[in-house]
Symmetry: C2
Subunit: 205 residues, 2 copies
Amino acid sequence: MVKTTERRERQREALIMAAEGAIAEKGLSGLKARDLANEVGCALGAIYNLVADMDELVLRVGSRTLARLDSALAQATDGSCSTSSGDATNTLVAIAKTYCAFARENLQLWRTLFEHRMAEGAVVPEWAISEQMTMFRYILAPLRALQPQASEPELMLLSRTLFSAVHGIVMLGLEEKLIAVPPAELDGQIEAIVRALGKALKQEA
Amino acid sequence: MVKTTERRERQREALIMAAEGAIAEKGLSGLKARDLANEVGCALGAIYNLVADMDELVLRVGSRTLARLDSALAQATDGSCSTSSGDATNTLVAIAKTYCAFARENLQLWRTLFEHRMAEGAVVPEWAISEQMTMFRYILAPLRALQPQASEPELMLLSRTLFSAVHGIVMLGLEEKLIAVPPAELDGQIEAIVRALGKALKQEA
DNA sequence: CATTATTTTGAACAACGTTCACGTTTGAGG
DNA sequence: CCTCAAACGTGAACGTTGTTCAAAATAATG
């Protein structure tokens, strides 16, 4: 009796892994229910015993991606807990570069985090929402060092803005469209922008 | 004989308009060939006499959106041709705010510009590519005022970076995801960031 | 071992973009 | 005004999607 649920859990895991592989290799649009069933070795319909629908599957893959991103950011900031404002800018630069590197190395999975939209009328489940906030933790500390007089809500807002700005540069830069910063110059431009903002924020204080 | 091609042209126009309406109302994923045929009053297959495929249709709608965006930016910058560096920052702020306002007011059409991806293996046609660069014209002049010593390629790169940063803030801010700056604070944050960057760039000179 | 509950299955469904054989319309030449 | 080949419009049909569900297979229980 315990065997059934256990095996199910294992199959669900396998399904998520297979989905992750498919997205990493062929992008979100390359994720096909029939391919997954084939790879996992179950019937097409069996997918819906393991997962409510494809949306949930994509969200579960996204959850894993976010966790990996989080650990990459943790690693990039672990040494620099100092609150001096000189290091703060360096930390912000390190975070931004780490984000950019993660996006490059996990291009399709990272894109999926932002490309994916729930089916018409469906709402993002709670467990998926709560994961999205973790990234700001890392930005918050250095920002506080740069702007000690700012209130917590102000810092919150600023960290979101800063993240969004860097995200935009990375996102457009890693797209093929001509609009963007060429990938070769991405790191340099990110550093320049973050440093410029760091300087401006420090002087404003 | 002239009548046929003329009518065809008119029908193509009607098709593009219908597509634009559908996207504006229901988003890119709400664009359905059958609905279009219905609305334009032609057979399903007739669409493919007016347009190669859905991709081309989306690109033609995008072309119109870009033209409207361009004229909005032109209007926002027409007065401020001055090269003083004090006005330059103001101009950059105005451009960014105009971009944000345009995105808000044309949410689905603007999103489509970046959401859309060509079908597997298909390549973006030349006429669609050449339109994408026009936006940087507006950013270039004020940037040159702020950084008179920078080379043209450097300014090019910087303008792309700046655009991408603002774009990121707007894009995430207008999404429903929790990652982003709340829509109510969007304008303020954009102004703050652009002003901070303007200040940093001016002092660097 | 029999019977009931659960799970797995894959054929069937609906919706999608795209194609194509078939009539119909058209317009230049007689 | 008529002819007829060429151009055009048509909607049924195709290949893919994700999703469902009656039935078959399996597991649990008495």
